[in-house]
């Protein structure tokens, strides 16, 4: 497995003359979306500039995090033989916690530890770097340390390229693919986003904790390169969001995802929220003694379908986090796969449009069609109400109390009292948590419509 964490990739092209600065396509951002788009286009024989503002691809990227790479089957068959992962997830736990209780649904599958696998933990600087290397191998021109500062337009206001912060940094092309991540400045400049609503975003904060490999495998009950992903509801100090804890090879990642307005409206800082999560009785024995080797943060587009921008305009497409394609649907927390799939769809669409000579919005119409025919928009359409439900006050604050209260009563032996019936427990715990039947029924219906 290649170590891609050290050093920086030298610039693979020097932009000096106008002709050298002219491409068929400019892909802004060498994350999962951009590298997949660039790979598809370079393989189709097009001249592609792939811009990365970091010193190397992945330098700016962080997640909370499992990658589900099956979408790469088409682009990189047998990807699992090369991709720099940490552990294959064979154990997936969903935990609902209050301050003193935790209910965990814990599933493991040996099949997920064999090709073609299911999900993997990885360091994004490794994974994204590898994916960009594949684009370079396909012939894309990777320009590291290059920040796109705006779109270039001709006298008719048509997009004709990208202005970068390199000396003589104007790059020309008939089409631009915006893969520039959650802040999405290119798509914003193009007017594709509605006004920013902080309620659509969460802050992800994370600690990477070093522990010996053998300790991790003992504590989490896994061997070889198998790993565990624990997703947590509750445990975020009353701030709407969620927690996570997962295994890398010789580190753990523990962190929280925090709804921005909820975070900003209280007084506990993000790193304190991680600290409290780590001190929870269900988490502390797993992370104890872990030395913090990296602290990190990133914003997540959380609201899914309802916050997506217009995806296509004349000579411009938007992909991945820049198009809010991250899926935050409680039991499903994905994003890298959506980025890769949308990048591939964008690459295929632009290749088609370049061949036909029409890169107007109409010529690029195949992009949204492709996304609708794939999981990208199918999942987001079906789960359009899930992010709101998951981050709602009831799911965040009342249901964890109610659910863990019910389970505590079920398994508590109150002799000499006889066992109460489940119906009575449900009724009493629902009332104790302040949940109204009407709201419970409504949320159950949204959940059923979304997940059913």
């Amino acid at each position: 497995m290649a170590d891609t964490t050290t050093g920086t990739t030298p610039l693979s092209a020097t932009v000096a003359t106008a002709s050298a600065a002219t491409f068929d396509v400019i892909v802004v951002g060498a994350g999962p979306a951009g590298s997949c788009a660039a790979t598809v286009l370079a393989r189709a024989g097009h001249r592609v500039a792939l811009l990365e503002r970091g010193a190397f691809p992945g330098a700016k990227n962080m997640y909370g995090g499992v990658i589900y790479p099956r979408i790469l089957d088409r682009l990189h068959p047998q990807w699992w033989e090369q991709v720099p992962i940490q552990r294959w997830i064979t154990r997936r736990s969903t935990m609902v916690m209050t301050e003193t209780r935790a209910l965990t649904i814990d599933f493991r599958s040996e099949a997920w530890g064999e090709p073609p696998y299911n999900g993997a933990t990885a360091y994004r600087p490794d994974f994204d770097h590898w994916l960009a290397d594949q684009a370079v191998a396909a012939g894309a021109h990777l320009l590291n340390a290059t920040t796109a500062v705006g779109l270039l337009r001709d006298a008719d206001q048509r997009i004709v390229g990208v202005r970068t912060d390199r000396p003589d940094g104007d790059l020309w092309a008939s089409t631009v693919i915006a893969c520039d991540g959650v802040n999405s400045f290119i798509a914003k400049e193009a007017g594709l986003h509605e006004e920013l609503d902080p309620a659509n975003y969460t802050l992800g904060v994370k600690e990477t904790l070093a522990l010996p490999r053998s300790v991790i495998e003992e504590r989490f009950g896994v061997r070889d390169r198998h790993g565990v992903d624990i997703e947590i509801l509750g445990g975020t100090s009353g701030v709407n969001g969620g927690g996570f804890l997962y295994t890398n090879l010789d580190t753990l990642a523990v962190g929280a995802v925090l709804k921005l307005p909820a975070l900003a409206a209280q007084q506990t800082r993000p790193e304190e929220i991680i600290g409290r999560l780590k001190a929870h009785p269900a988490i502390a024995p797993l992370v104890e003694g872990g030395e913090i080797v990296e602290y990190s943060a990133h914003v997540i587009p959380e609201a899914g379908r309802s916050m997506m921008p217009t995806l296509t305009t004349d000579r411009l497409l938007v992909t991945g986090d820049a198009a809010a394609m991250c899926l935050a649907a409680g039991i499903w927390l994905e994003g890298v796969n959506f980025a890769m799939a949308s990048g591939m769809a964008a690459g295929e669409t632009v290749a088609e449009a370049l061949a036909s000579g029409d890169t107007s919005a109409r010529g690029l119409g195949g992009y949204e069609r492709r996304l609708r025919d794939s999981f990208v928009l199918a999942d987001h359409d079906k789960l359009r109400r899930a992010p709101g439900l998951v981050l709602s006050d009831r799911v965040q604050h009342q249901y964890p109390e109610m659910i863990t209260g019910v389970v505590e009563r079920m398994f508590r032996v109150d002799n000499p009292e006889p066992k109460p019936g489940l119906r009575r427990i449900l009724r009493e715990e629902r009332r104790a948590a302040g949940v109204r039947i009407r709201d419970l029924a409504r949320d159950a219906w949204i959940g059923f419509r979304s997940f059913g």
Partner: protein
Amino acid sequence: MTLTNDGLWPEVSFEDRMSTVRFDIGERAHITVDSAVCGDCSTRECVVACPANLFVPTSDGGILFNYEQCFECGTCYMVCNREGAITWTYPDGGHGVVFKRT
């Protein structure tokens, strides 16, 4: 700053926490804060929300801001209620945060 970890592990100071992160700091401040706009802000969402703790209230009621150890996440400008208080761009190419094991 007290973490409620009940002595399970040594307290990590915020400075030590940030020292685990690599920054190749650029010369240009990629974020600027206009204290004329934010001076009388009482809610100060940026102070609690910035994961790098870059917004520090001063005794005279202002905000001291430092761009150098910035994760470039965007939280500050998204939570800010004052139009024009925070001007936010990416650092110049090749500068800023460099993640390793994230």
